[in-house]
């Protein structure tokens, strides 16, 4: 029986409610650090990369050789700056808007796994939850634009809302394809399904997923308001769009929300298409065999997986920065036409294509490699139909859910993830709720 964190704490003499609170706080603090430090690093990275693109150096002096403390200095300046509320503004909404925007972009991180078991809340509907919460971020922007009271911010807010709402459609379509290929919406399972060599990644699964990956990137960039789609703060026309009137800490919250959701979109892309925490060459799982050995080795393998994921999503963010500093901005109606006339049809065509591919050419990935969980995708699909169809289901419910390979409770192992029993393959467990220990 795994010793959960709560038992550890209570055995150390802490009162039970305090232990629960601490257990809940651990993932939150870690995720806040990821988003905050991520924003800090990416703002510095953006200035460096844009400098390189424009044949100049970017910050070099603040805090050491490459000016890496520049963003911290900006942060402190922003905190020290006065938070002005314009006269005509609707004070209450004006103050709440940045927090709504930041909360939405931060909450989506709750469901993002960094390694098997390393996720805030290993939800069964993780992808759906992330998309739902991503949609909330547009509220912060609409309220900001509206409450600032100025004509310009209203323009910015209207454009932004129209764009983000219309880009959720193709985004949803693109995300559905990896979901039905892996048969589940649980990000950890999707990640685990891409174990093994790079050829096992979903992007190489079939030509349609490859094409839909690029459609996803375009829609992701558009729904996060970056690069050629950053209509909201089109300087030349609308001064600075919805956050013209903001200053100081409130403005930095919008900035953090933007970088947080930028990292989120690219992390989702990595998990869904680019083999989440698996490196191109599976050193840890097959080469050294650490992932399945428990204890410290399993922990190190998960750590390497987490580094893998963060590295890949940072590369995604760098590509977004690179695109931003080279391409001019699209007009609002061109943004809408790209969404409705190019992204949606393309995404739906790839959806049908992937569906057809999945139905007629299952299991193209080389069988030689140990498919994840010892069950290959075909088995999972049959289980859907056969189990539903009649009592003689071959694969029990429990097997469907992801096994945590490493039994040792890592700090992030969440209490809410029940201790899944690892049934011997093939044993039929009764249908319905599996017994909790």
């Amino acid at each position: 029986m795994q010793t959960t964190l709560v038992d550890l704490l209570t055995s150390a003499g802490l009162p039970d409610p305090l232990a629960h609170v601490i257990r809940a706080l651990v993932p939150c603090v870690l995720i806040i650090h990821l988003v905050a430090v991520g924003a800090l690093v990416f703002i510095w990275l953006e200035r460096k990369v844009s400098g390189r693109i424009q044949d100049r150096l970017g910050p070099t002096r603040v805090g050491g050789r490459f000016g890496w403390l520049q963003t911290l200095a900006d942060g402190i300046k922003l905190i020290a700056k006065e938070d002005i509320t314009p006269g005509e503004a609707d004070a209450m909404l004006f103050r709440i808007a940045p927090y709504v925007s930041f909360a939405a972009s931060f909450a989506a991180w709750l469901a993002m796994p960094f390694a098997v078991g390393w996720s805030g809340l290993d939800m069964n509907v993780a992808v759906f939850f992330v998309l739902a919460v991503l949609g909330l971020e547009v509220f912060g922007v609409i309220l900001a634009g509206y409450a600032s009271g100025s004509k310009w911010s209203l323009f910015g807010a209207m454009r932004e809302a129209a764009q983000v709402v219309s880009y959720e459609v193709p985004l949803g379509l693109c995300v559905v394809i990896p979901v039905f290929i892996c048969g589940t919406m649980n990000l950890t399972t999707i990640g685990e399904m891409q174990r093994g060599f790079a050829t096992n990644w979903l992007i190489f699964h079939d030509p349609f997923t490859f094409c839909v990956f690029w459609v996803y990137i375009t829609c992701g960039v558009a729904s996060v308001n970056r690069a050629p789609f950053d209509l909201a703060e089109a300087e030349s026309e609308l001064v600075a769009g919805f956050h013209t009137e903001y200053s100081g800490l409130r403005w930095s919250f919008f900035f953090m929300a933007e970088y947080g959701s930028m990292l989120l979109v690219s992390a989702l892309a990595v998990i869904l298409f680019l083999g989440a925490w698996h490196g191109p060459i599976p050193i840890f799982s097959i080469g050294l065999g650490w992932t399945d050995a428990g204890g410290i080795l399993g922990y190190l393998a998960s750590l390497a997986g987490c580094a893998n994921l963060i590295l890949k999503s940072s590369l995604g963010v760098i590509v977004m920065i690179w695109v931003r500093w080279t391409l001019p901005r699209l007009r609002i109606d061109q943004v809408m036409t790209t969404c409705l006339k190019y992204c949606v049809p393309l995404a739906s065509f790839c959806f049908l294509g992937a569906l057809a591919w999945q139905a007629w050419i299952p299991n193209v990935t080389p069988a030689s490699l140990p498919a994840p969980f010892g069950i290959d995708r075909a088995a999972i699909r049959e289980s859907w139909v056969t189990r539903a169809g009649g009592p003689h289901a071959t694969v029990s419910d429990a097997q469907l859910t992801p096994q945590t390979a490493s039994p040792v409770p890592t700090t992030l192992a969440t209490q809410s993830v029940p201790d899944r029993n690892i049934p011997v393959a093939g044993s039929t467990a009764p249908i319905g709720r599996e017994e909790t220990p």
């Binding site: 424009q54 026309e237 500093w325 061109q334």
Partner: protein
Amino acid sequence: MAASVADQRVIEFDVRTDEMLVNMGPQHPSTHGVLRLVLRTDGEVVSEVEPHLGYLHRCAEKIGENLTPRQWVPYTDRMDYLAGMNMNLGWALCVEKLLDHNLSDKAKHLRVIIAEMGRIASHLVGMGAYGLDLGTFSPFLYAFREREKILDLFEEACGARLTYSYLTPGGATADLPEGWLDKCSAFLDQFEPVIQEYHALLTTNSIFIKRTANIGVMDAEMVTDYGCTGPVLRGSGVDHDLRRDGEEIYTEMYENYAFEVVVQKDGHYPRDHTYPPVPKEAVLGDCWHRFYVRMLEVVQAIDLVRQAIERYRSADGDWGIPIKLTQKLPKGEVYLETEAPRGQMGFYLVSDGNSIPRRVRARSSCFCNLSVTSDVCRGALLADVPAIVGSLDVVMGEIDR
């Protein structure tokens, strides 16, 4: 629980979108200067554009009525502050035409070198600023990196980087220093391949084409009717360039130079350099063509400077000693236009016999180019207005004088 809105009749069934008077304030100060556009729009479609001028009005013409021509030279290069040299050249030629003062060949070739280098610098700013208007920041910095090298060369020649007062009536204030010509041709050699980068960055960039092709289209008749000149005129296919069909005193500077006017004649541009082809969406007279004419004029200017450098080396005579500060002007009047980077810059000098002229008038090219905005931007989208005004490449210093 029916909430009673102030008056039921106010909200008619058909939701009436009332037009907003939106004030698109001063664009980036570094590029267009203090231009204010009042737009009447109902959200996205602009139904009326009204440019407001006069923020940079210094009444240089009134001051011209109290100074001798040579003293007024510094006022001319503060008009189009991005192409100071070409403004000085225009005023110098105007005074020389009145005085009937002809220059040695060497002075003429010196003026061609300086004027065409000024054109390159000015077009670089025009290109970079246009990128800014469309939202991309990098071309601006690439453009200024090259422009800085030209400003260094000008600083060596006349000591100033923006307001030169170098070409004065009678010639130039100083000869070109030693080794200046070699540095200049070295700059040109390394600059020519860089232009391909700008083409890749902007001209052939599909989003740039989407934002500029077939937008702000002006046919030849409308362009001449509004008095637009320079790249705006040639962008609409009118074959008119004062370096070839200008005044006698101006065209003899460019005599037996091999150069073709950059204008699209029956479908294609003069083609002795590798240029990107015209995209199929681009219509003659739209923003893209105006931008493309400027880019080709930079290449044309490079050729002119190279020819001028050889001629300057072998030419004889002095570099043009300026006329006396209080030179007596004959009674009479003279009007002369030169091909400045942004259009035809005209100077009108009326004198009644003493050294201070009776009236000095500067005809600004951007003044007429800007006057076309209210007609072109009617019905355009909000995001197209900066694209159209950016393609006219106006400088407020010259418009407001």
